[in-house]
Structures are given as structure tokens and as C-alpha cells.
Amino acid sequence: MAARHELGEPVVVVEGVEKAFGAFVVLKDVGLTIRRGETVCIIGPSGSGKSTLLRCINALVPISKGSITVAGRQVNDPALDKLALRRDVGIVFQQYNLFPHKTALQNVMMAPIHVLKQDPAEVGERARRLLAKVGLSHKHDAYPGELSGGQQQRVAIARSLAMNPKVMLFDEVTAALDPETKKEVLVTIRDLAAEGMTCILVTHEMGFAREVADHVYFTDGGVIVEHAAPAEFFGAPRETRTRAFLEQVL
């Protein structure tokens, strides 16, 4: 199902990235390119550095070596305007991380109003549209504690989208959900990808990766072992490590 739409210029370019926490090397010489409108899935065993890579892309974690460019911005530049970068990159976490003291609607509206200084009335309208899009029109006034995990995760997606990001990062967003609610979140992401949003997903959902991704990366031990279009990747993996992993999870 690759290339349902035209792919544009490269949005995220990762080159020769290395990341170490002390003596512990998490990423080694990682390189990948994501073009506008592309949906990329990163899969691999736990501890292979996938989530760290995502956090490096929006500068939550500084890299030790190499370079990352996002929408023309050099992420590893010491003079980087991190706030500007983060306005362009949305991230959704495994644990939702909604602000518990704000309602669903307020969660979506807060950042555009306070960070982007946009007109509250206009933001409110957009936030309502976004909540409708993730299927939560009826939950505007609910607090995160009153929502199910899947609902919270969809609010979190709407919250990120409200910033009009150029790239969306998803960090194992369905890992904490039960199978039923998992589906509603995956559908939301699939629709988003179909609309042409550039998406990078770290995920364990092989079926989903196969269906939605334009390109699949397999990481293990901090390196990218193999990457290919999903049909090829799942149909005829080249590396033994990839085959061993796929045999285990499929």
C-alpha cells in the first residue's frame, strides 16, 4: 500500500547519529530520511533505541554525534530555537501525558493559545473540529481522569495536531492500551496518514505497519539493521536478525 500519494521533499533527515548515556551507547550511526507526506514505522525489540531516536528528533534528548535536520532546521545546532522546532514537531507518548487539571478541550486549546498566541475563539473552533475528527465531540468537558486510555490517547493526538505540526511522532502510542481501544487509536492515525501528514511511528503493531507504512525500519542494538517498503520487508526480509525478530512477533 505504499505511495498512495505524492511524496514531497525530505522533511526529516537523520545522518550518522550516535547517542550515548554515559558509557552506554543507545544509537550507533543511525541514518534515515523521511519525505513530506511519508509514513514511516520503526520496529524492533525493546531497548533497541527506537524511542530515544524519536526524542532526539524533537530535541528532548541531545545527540552525541551526527546531525538531524527537521524542516530545514539543524536540530543539533547549539543555537537551535528548540521552542520553534517543537512547534513544528508533534509527539504523542505511550502514557498520553495529558494535563490532568484541564478538560479535554482545554488540553487541546492550551498550547495554541499560550505558545502560539493565537486567537482563543479561533483556536476553540479548531479544537472542537479536531476533537470531532478523533471522534470525541461528546467529551469536550471531561477531565483526563474520566476518559478511557484510548480516549485519552486520541485527545493527546488532537492536542498535538492543534499546533499544526509538519511532522507527527508516535512513541508506542498503543502499547498501554487494551485491544479494543487500540483499534480506535490506530484508525485515527491511519486517517491522519491518509490525509498526507508526515508520520513517524515507533510501534509493535506489525499488522498496522504493514498496512499503513510507506517504509519500515528495523532497529536492533542501536543500529538500523534493515529498511524497506512493507511488502518487501515483511515478505522477504534479507537479514537473519530481522527474520528472527519477525518470527517471534508474528
Binding site: A84, R86, N97, F99, P100, H114, V115, M163
Partner: protein, 246 residues
Amino acid sequence: MIAAFFERLNETQGLNFSIFYDAFDRSRFLTGLWTTTYICVVSILASLAIGLLGVWVAGSNSRLGRLVVRGYVQFFRNTPPLVQLSFFYFAVGGLLPTVSDGFGGQSPLVSGTGWAIIAFSLFAGAFNVEIFRAGIEAVPETMVEAAESLGYTRFQLWRQIVLPLAFRICLPALNNNLVNLVKTTTLAYAIGVPELLYAASQIWSEVFNVREMMNVLLVVYVLLVAVLVWVMHRWERAMRIPGYMP
């Protein structure tokens, strides 16, 4: 009518609640109650301000500032409040110059009530610093990460996310500390501040109704604490977030 009842109670039962029928005793008692309330309210507000200031300095980049706050907190938490009060009133107060009171006499720069408020505010403030700090530390780091990834500045992050959550988390501990502060105000008796306990002791040493006044005192203090607890609980409830247990 209440006065008549208590007068009869005195004559028939020998239970002398003079504050309910004797105008002079009543006014002394009410003055004491007012002084206690005044010391409580001012000290509570000042101790909250000290707590906020302390936690702000403790989080700053200044090493010296952090050290000073640490020393302040530990010293005031681990020495007797009564000795602190004596220290301020006798030792520090004794060093300060006196001012002319306008009637040809000299009066101290800071009154006994003033020293009581200063001492109690510093004492409770030391606890507040720790309470606020614990509250801020209890805000999950994931919240910070989420706000950062939405492009919040440090100031916005504090104002919108960390402080509102931290405040809710520390309300119960704060509640406890403020109740303690109310109880601590009785120490002002030791430096002759005419607060409730002092007023009561004056009454019982003149009217010889120690037992009655003692019981009145206990009840009044428990009521004062109850009022504070009630106000704090109302506040806690008003701030509660549905479905969120900090």
C-alpha cells in the same frame, strides 16, 4: 438571658463562667480571641509567602541561595519554637533601638505581637518550603516532557502545568502545617502577648475559675482549628480534578 443562665450556674453549681456574664472578663477574652485570630491570619499569609520565596530561591541557580534556604529550613524545623520566640523577643528585640512613643516614653521598635508574628511565620515558613518543594517534585516528569514537546517556555510550563498540579498535591500537608501554626500561637503567652491563653490566665488568676476557663480554652482552640480545617477542606474540594488522584 445567656448571662442570667451562667450567673445562676455560678450561684447554684459553683461553675463560674465569668466571661459569659461579666462584661469586663468578656471583653478581655474577646480581645484575646481577636489577637489570636490576628496573629494566626497574618502568620499564615506570611509563612505562605516565605514558603514560596524559599522554594523559588531553592530552585534558583545560586549555590549560596540554595545553601541559605537549606540552612534556614533545617534550623527552624529542628529547634524549639519557644526558644526561637525567646531568641527573637529578648535577644534580637533587645538589640534593636527603641522609639519615642509620642507620650514622652520609649517603646520597642517591634511589639511582642510583632515578634510573635515574625517568629511563627519563620517557623511555619520553614515547613512550607519543604511542603512546596515536595509538591513540585511530585509532578510527574512526563508532564514536563509533554509540555516541552508542545513548545512551552519555562515560565509557561511553571505557570500552566507545574504549579497548578504541585499546589493540589501539597494541599493536605499544607493544611496540617497551618493547623500546627494555629496551635503554636499559644506560645506568644510566654512573652506576654495578650492572646487567648494569656487573657484566659489573667481571668482565672483573678476570678479563680481555672477549671472552667481551661475547658473554655480547649473548646475554643479546637473550634478555631475546626474552622481552619473546614475552610481548607472546602478549598481542597473546590480544586479537586474529577478522576485525578494526586
